[in-house]
C-alpha cells in the first residue's frame, strides 16, 4: 500500500465511511471495487499501516469478513471507518454543521442540540430497546429496519409523556419548553432532518423509501463507545425509576429483560 493508495482510501472513507467489496443492498460506488482490491491485496499489514495513519485522526478502520459477521455477502469483505473509542474525534468533524441542519426557523443551537439528543435516544429505543437487543449486539444491525413514520410517532409519544408529567413534577424548565413548543409538522421535519444527517454520516441506511436501517458502522460505533460515553451520563437507576413512575406509558411497555446498567463478565 503506497501513499497514493492511502490518500484515495482516506478520501473515499471520509465521504462514505465504509467500503464493501460486494455490497449487499446497493450498487458499487465509483472506485469502491478498486479500493477494496487495494485493501485485500495489502492484507493485515496494509490494514495496520492504514490504521496507524488513521489513529492520528482518532479513527479506526475495522475489517469484517463473511465469517465474522452475518449479512456480509459470501466471499465479501466490509471495512468501516469508526471513531476510536479511546480518542477524541478529529477537529475536522463539525458538530456545528450537524446542529445547523437540525435547526428550524430561528432556532438557537441549544434548541437544535436538545432535539437532536431526544430524537437520537428515541431512535436508539427503536433499534435496541424495543427489539430486546443488547447494545453490544452488532450483528443485530441486520434486523434493525424501522419506518420513518414509526420514529415520528415515537418522538410524538415521548413529547406527550413529557407534557403529561409537566413542570410541577420537576422537569427542567428550559428543556420542557423546548420540547413542548412544537407546532404543526415540526416533529416530522425534525425527524427527517435527523434521518438525513444519520444517512449522510453512514450510521443509517435508507433501505426503501421511508424505511431506514442501521448500518454495520452504526452498530459498531454504538457497541464500542456506549460504555465510555452515554453510560456515564445516564441517570442512575433510582432516579430513573422515580421518573418512570411519574409516567405510566413507558412503564406499560414492559421491558422485563432489561439489564441495567451494564453486565460485565
Amino acid at each position: 500500500m503506497n501513499l497514493n493508495d492511502m490518500g484515495q482510501l482516506h478520501a473515499f472513507l471520509m465521504r462514505y465511511r465504509c467500503i464493501e467489496s460486494r455490497p449487499r443492498s446497493r450498487k458499487l460506488r465509483r472506485n469502491e471495487s478498486e479500493l477494496a482490491g487495494i485493501l485485500i491485496e495489502a492484507g493485515a499489514e496494509g490494514l495496520e499501516k492504514m490504521n496507524h495513519f488513521l489513529a492520528g485522526q482518532g479513527l479506526d478502520l475495522i475489517e469484517f469478513t463473511d465469517t465474522d459477521m452475518p449479512g456480509i455477502t459470501t466471499g465479501g469483505r466490509v471495512w468501516v471507518l469508526a471513531r476510536s473509542p479511546e480518542a477524541t474525534p478529529p477537529a475536522f468533524f463539525s458538530i456545528d454543521q450537524v446542529m445547523t441542519r437540525m435547526k428550524l426557523r430561528d432556532d438557537t443551537r441549544e434548541i437544535a442540540a436538545v432535539w437532536y439528543l431526544h430524537i437520537w435516544l428515541i431512535h436508539l429505543a427503536l433499534l435496541y430497546t424495543h427489539k430486546g437487543r443488547a447494545v453490544s449486539a452488532v450483528s443485530g444491525y441486520l434486523d434493525s429496519a424501522f419506518e420513518e413514520e414509526t420514529l415520528i410517532q415515537g418522538v410524538r409519544d415521548h413529547i406527550e409523556r413529557v407534557r403529561s408529567i409537566g413542570l410541577d413534577a420537576g422537569a427542567e424548565k428550559r428543556v420542557y419548553e423546548i420540547l413542548t413548543d412544537e407546532r404543526g409538522t415540526d416533529i416530522a421535519k425534525r425527524v427527517r432532518a435527523f434521518l438525513g444527517l444519520m444517512v449522510d454520516s453512514g450510521l443509517l441506511g435508507c433501505a426503501d423509501s421511508g424505511v431506514y436501517e442501521q448500518t454495520l458502522l452504526g452498530a459498531v460505533e454504538i457497541s464500542q463507545s456506549f460504555s465510555r460515553t452515554l453510560q456515564h451520563i445516564l441517570p442512575d437507576e433510582d432516579a430513573l425509576s422515580n421518573i418512570v413512575n411519574l409516567s405510566a406509558p413507558v412503564a406499560e411497555k414492559g421491558e422485563e429483560e432489561e439489564a441495567w446498567p451494564e453486565e460485565t463478565e
Partner: protein
C-alpha cells in the same frame, strides 16, 4: 440427547404442519390455528427420544440385531411412577407404525410434476416372539434420524464432511466439489456467526462454558477441516487427478467447470477455515479474559425522559454527538476521481502527439487548432448555404457540420455561431438572431440540444429583416 432431538424436530415441525394442511387451491386465506393438539407436557416426546437413544446404544453391540424392549419399559415405569406398561407400549407402536408422506417429484425430462408418496417413515421395527418378549430395532430411517439429530447440534463432526472433498476427487466426481465447498463454507460461517452472537450477548454462560470445556476439541476439529481442505488442494495438483479431470471434462462438456475454478473454490474455503480458526482462538482468549465487557439492553426511552429532568449541559450534548452521533466534515476531502469527466478534455485530438523539442521554432511547426481545422473543413459549405438564406443552428446540425468524419465537433460549431468572426468574412456582414425555444435536435447518440436556436444570416444589403442581437 433430548437437546439434539429438539433442534432436529423444531426444524421440521412447520413442514409437517404444511403437509397436513387440507387447504384447497384458491380458497380464501384464513389465519392459521397455532394450537397443537395433544398434551403439552412433552412426556411422549421424552419417552420417544429415550427409546431411540436406548435402541441406538443397544445397536452398538447387536449390530442391527434385535433388542429386547423389556428393560427399557421397566426402567421408564420405574423412573416415572405415573407411567404404566401400556403407556410405553403406545410410544413403541407410534414409532413403529409407518405413515404416508406425499410429495411432488420433479420429472426433469418431461418438464412436469408428479405426485409421489412414501411410507418409509417408521423409526423402529418391532417383533413379537410367542407374544411374550417384545423385540425392537432401529430402521434405516431411524438410524438416519439419529445421525441428523446429532449433526444438528454438533459442529465437531464437520471435518467428516471436509473429508468428502478428497473422496470426490479420488472418485472423479468433480461436479460435486463446488457444491460441497459451498455447503462446508456455509456451515463454517454459521458456526462463526454463532460465536459472534455468543460474544455479543450478556449472559450466555452455558454456551460459553460448553465452548470452554470442549475448546480443544473444537480447535482440533477446525484443524482437521483445515487439513482435509489442504489435502484436497494438494491432491488436485497431482498428475493423476488432472488426467481424471480431463477425462471427466471430455465426457461432461458444457458444464462450465475447470480445474482453475475448483482450485479457487478450495482456496476460498481454505481462507474461510483459517478465519474461523483465528476467530475461535480469539473467542477463547476473550472469554477467559476477565475484561469481557458486554452491554445488555438499555431502556433508551426512559433515558430520554430522564434527560428532561436532569438535562446534560450543552458541552456534554456536543460531546455525545461528536462521539456517537452524526458526523459531518468541516472541510471537503476531494478525491482525484471526483473530478473525472466534469470538464470535457479540450485537447486537440488532431494534433500530432509528438513531443516538442526545445529550441524548435514553435511558429514554424505549429499544427492547426481544432477550431482552425473545423473552419477549414466546413467554411465553404457554410458560406454557400448562407448565400441561399439564413441557417439556424438546428439546421446546421442536420447538415452534418457538427462532425468531421466520425468526430463530434459540436463545440466548434456552436463556437462559430457565437463568434462568426471565425469564418473570417468581415464580421459585419453576418447577423445573428436568437429564436427563443425553437431548438430541439438530436446531436449524437444520447445528446440532445434544446432551448433557444440561433439563426445566422448573411447581410449583403442594408435593411435585413432581423434585428441584430
Amino acid at each position: 440427547m433430548t437437546k439434539d432431538w429438539i433442534s432436529y424436530l423444531t426444524a421440521a415441525f412447520r413442514l409437517v404442519d404444511l403437509h397436513d394442511s387440507a387447504r384447497s387451491f384458491g380458497s380464501a386465506p384464513t389465519s392459521l390455528k397455532e394450537e397443537r393438539t395433544g398434551r403439552s407436557d412433552g412426556v411422549w416426546l421424552h419417552l420417544a427420544c429415550h427409546l431411540l437413544s436406548y435402541l441406538d446404544e443397544c445397536d452398538l453391540e447387536t449390530n442391527e440385531g434385535w433388542n429386547p424392549i423389556g428393560p427399557f419399559v421397566k426402567d421408564m415405569c420405574g423412573r416415572h411412577g405415573s407411567l404404566n406398561d401400556d403407556d410405553v407400549q403406545l410410544v413403541i407402536s407410534y414409532l413403529s407404525t409407518p405413515t404416508e408422506v406425499y410429495f411432488i417429484k420433479d420429472e426433469l425430462t418431461k418438464d412436469q410434476l408428479r405426485v409421489a408418496s412414501t411410507k418409509d417413515t417408521a423409526l423402529i421395527e418391532r417383533r413379537s416372539i410367542r407374544g411374550q418378549t417384545d423385540l425392537c430395532r432401529l430402521t434405516q430411517r431411524g438410524r438416519l434420524a439419529i445421525t441428523l439429530a446429532k449433526a444438528s447440534h454438533n459442529w465437531l463432526y464437520t471435518h467428516h464432511d471436509a473429508d468428502k472433498l478428497m473422496t470426490a476427487l479420488l472418485y472423479g466426481e468433480f461436479h460435486d466439489i463446488p457444491k460441497q465447498c459451498a455447503s462446508l463454507g456455509q456451515s463454517i460461517r454459521a458456526f462463526a456467526h454463532e460465536i459472534t452472537r455468543t460474544m455479543e450477548q450478556p449472559g450466555q454462560n452455558e454456551v460459553i462454558a460448553h465452548f470452554l470445556d470442549r475448546g480443544n476439541q473444537y480447535l482440533d476439529s477446525i484443524r482437521k477441516v483445515q487439513t482435509a481442505v489442504q489435502n484436497a488442494r494438494e491432491q488436485l495438483g497431482t498428475a493423476d487427478v488432472r488426467e481424471r479431470f480431463n477425462q471427466w471434462f471430455e465426457q461432461n462438456e458444457g458444464v462450465g467447470l475447470d480445474l482453475g475454478m475448483i482450485r479457487r473454490t478450495l482456496d476460498e474455503l481454505m481462507q474461510t477455515v483459517e478465519r474461523l480458526s483465528r476467530r475461535f482462538s480469539a473467542f477463547l482468549h476473550q472469554v477467559t479474559d476477565t475484561q469481557r465487557e458486554v452491554v445488555g439492553a438499555i431502556p433508551f426511552e426512559k433515558a430520554a425522559l430522564a434527560f428532561v429532568f436532569q438535562p446534560p449541559s450543552l458541552a456534554v450534548m456536543d460531546m455525545l454527538t461528536g462521539n456517537l452521533g452524526a458526523w459531518l466534515l468541516e472541510m471537503c476531502f476531494g478525491a482525484p476521481e471526483d473530478m473525472q469527466g466534469i470538464l470535457r478534455a479540450e485537447i486537440d485530438r488532431h494534433q500530432a502527439s509528438q513531443p516538442k523539442v526545445f529550441g524548435e521554432d514553435a511558429g514554424a511547426t505549429r499544427e492547426r487548432t481544432v477550431m482552425e481545422l473545423f473552419v477549414h473543413e466546413h467554411r465553404d459549405a457554410m458560406f454557400s448555404a448562407l448565400k441561399a438564406g439564413p441557417v439556424r443552428l438546428g439546421t446546421a446540425l442536420t447538415m452534418g457540420w457538427a462532425k468531421i468524419g466520425d468526430q463530434c465537433h459540436l463545440t466548434e460549431l456552436v463556437g462559430v455561431y457565437s463568434a462568426p468572426s471565425w469564418l473570417g468574412h468581415g464580421t459585419d456582414s453576418i447577423q445573428l438572431t436568437l429564436k427563443p425555444g425553437s431548438l430541439d435536435a438530436r446531436v449524437d447518440g444520447r445528446t440532445w440540444l434544446a432551448g433557444d436556436d440561433i439563426e445566422m444570416q448573411l447581410i449583403q444589403e442594408q435593411g435585413g429583416n432581423n434585428e441584430p442581437e
